[in-house]
């Protein structure tokens, strides 16, 4: 172990891939159900993929709450954790995006066999899931923002416990910037409340993620390891 977080990435990639396979199976069952008892004319993965953002959020939280204390307990510095954490976020977000793109492709194949169109409801950087490079770009940027927001909120709660509540609005801003840059509404809640986000350049999502990472580092660079489990 030196400059690259091999085991940190490998362990998380493995467990995520297994969870992804299970989640895709559940989505497939839902799609079959809709096909049997209703009309299947649009992508089921598109709305289902919103849950992956929350997985990314909790991954960011766990990165600080679980992994940082482990690093420090094993004689590593906050600086090294910051470096490894940054690399992990930068690589894990595209990894999640690859899984999201794969799910669209699996869905496209299944729909083609059943002669069902894979229509999309939301605004995206892509118009067809076969535009894989754009799918990867969109989801990578989104997940980057969500993981960074999770890391920021996780760091704030780890350091200040209940005081971390004050940082949640900042996390929401980071997530909203990421969503506005790549989509049209905050997932789950935004659509129900009819809160449309303005369209902003995609690069804003990257800026939001960098902002989240920078704020996280400011919180953890001299954070004490907590005395309570």
């Amino acid at each position: 172990m030196r400059g690259f977080p091999t085991r940190l990435l490998a362990a998380n990639a493995l467990i995520t891939a297994m969870l992804w396979a299970g989640f895709v199976a559940v989505v497939a069952i839902v799609a079959v159900g809709i096909g049997l008892f209703g009309t299947l004319g649009r992508s089921v993965w598109e709305p289902a993929s919103q849950f992956v953002r929350f997985y990314a959020l909790f991954f960011g939280i766990a990165l600080v709450r679980e992994w940082m204390p482990l690093y420090l307990a094993h004689g590593r510095t906050r600086r090294l954790f910051g470096l490894h954490g940054g690399i992990t976020i930068a690589l894990f977000a595209p990894f999640l995006a690859v899984l999201a793109a794969l799910a669209y492709l699996v869905e496209r194949g299944a729909y083609a066999l059943a002669d069902v169109p894979q229509n999309l409801d939301r605004r995206h950087l892509f118009t067809d899931p076969l535009q894989v490079h754009l799918v990867l770009a969109e989801y990578s940027l989104q997940y980057l923002a969500w993981i960074a927001a999770g890391a920021l909120v996780g760091a704030a709660f780890y350091r200040w416990e209940g005081g971390g509540l004050l940082v949640i609005p900042l996390g929401v801003v980071i997530v909203a910037l990421g969503e506005a840059a790549t989509g049209d509404a905050l997932p789950l809640i935004g659509e129900r409340l009819g809160l449309a986000l303005p369209q902003i350049p995609a690069v804003a999502a990257l800026g939001a993620a960098l902002l989240g990472a920078a704020l996280t580092w400011m919180i953890v660079r001299d954070v004490p390891v907590r005395n309570r489990a």
């Binding site: 420090l72 307990a73 004689g75 590593r76 090294l80 390891v225 005395n227």
Partner: protein
């Protein structure tokens, strides 16, 4: 691994946990760190391990300041019952990451300790019993083979046979791989035999730092017929007494001169080393 602490201050808001503490440990020994609840033991070890940044003062390990110093902290292991070193998935996962993060990690030794404490490899550490979690901490702490290894009461959750197995393993590994070990404990009588030096801290300051033998020579236990013990100890500073039937044992603070020792022998009394726990209670202000 020499440890130097100079004018160390640590505050949590208005509370001063370490109040200008200074001492140095030459290293290569097993040290006992004793103190009452809230005396600052955990705070001190947290600063030594760079878990926490001091408010003021200097701390160096092996001649290097520790906070955010990668060269220094890789040689330091602190195991606490909060479990940050082990609560990451299953026991197997904990060992997998310890091996990756610790340059001095000994996998074979870790495996043998897992066998010794009969720990289930596939079980999530967070779901283990307190005793098993404590044993996981012991495994990771010992197998880290860090030149400065500290256990902060992290083995108290283990049952008596497991604690004895820990003491035996610690001593055997210390002899095979000499290093600096600091044990913080409330089980003073149980562990005191391992200590080569003792540091007692009280209200954030060092109260005593002595070799164990020198510390124990501060007092004497006097055992014999109750009446004779009472007569002999009259006028002496008695820290504690125990009586079983007609036999009584009294812990006396202060050295006995040759004349008094002779007098004790003449009265049929047996003189022995003082109990470290009684001495500790006395030095830190008596029982409360």
């Amino acid at each position: 691994m020499r440890v130097e602490v100079e004018d160390l201050v640590l505050r949590y808001g208005d509370v001063t946990a370490l109040d200008g503490m200074s001492f140095s440990l030459e290293g290569g020994k097993i040290y006992g760190l004793l103190g009452r609840n809230g005396s600052g033991k955990t705070s001190l070890m947290s600063v030594l391990a760079a878990f926490r940044k001091q408010t003021a003062g200097r701390v160096s390990v092996g001649g290097r300041p520790v906070f955010e110093n990668g060269e220094a902290v890789r040689d330091i292991a602190l195991i606490r019952d909060t479990g940050e070193a082990v609560t990451i998935g299953t026991a197997e996962d904990a060992l997998y990451f310890a091996e990756w993060l610790r340059p001095s990690w000994d996998s074979e030794y870790a495996e043998s300790l897992m066998e010794l404490f009969k720990l289930p490899r596939k079980k999530n550490v967070k779901e283990m019993s307190k005793g098993q979690r404590s044993a996981m901490g012991v495994v990771v702490g010992l197998a880290s083979r860090a030149p400065l290894t500290m256990f902060d009461e992290s083995y108290l959750g283990m049952d008596a046979p497991s604690r004895q197995a820990f003491y035996d393993a610690l001593l055997a590994d210390y002899i095979a791989h000499p290093r600096t070990i600091i044990l913080s404990t409330h089980l003073i009588e149980e562990v005191s035999g391992l200590f080569e030096e003792v540091v007692i801290i009280h209200e954030g300051k060092v109260l005593v730092h002595e070799e164990s033998e020198a510390l124990l020579s501060r007092g004497v236990s006097v055992t014999g017929q109750a009446a004779h013990v009472d007569t002999f100890t009259a006028g002496l500073r008695v820290l504690g007494e125990r009586q079983l039937g007609p036999t009584k044992s009294a812990m006396v603070y202060g050295e006995l001169d040759a004349a008094r020792r002779r007098k004790a022998v003449e009265a049929g009394l047996e003189l022995g080393p003082i109990n470290m726990q009684d001495l500790f209670i006395h030095l830190t202000g008596g029982s409360s």
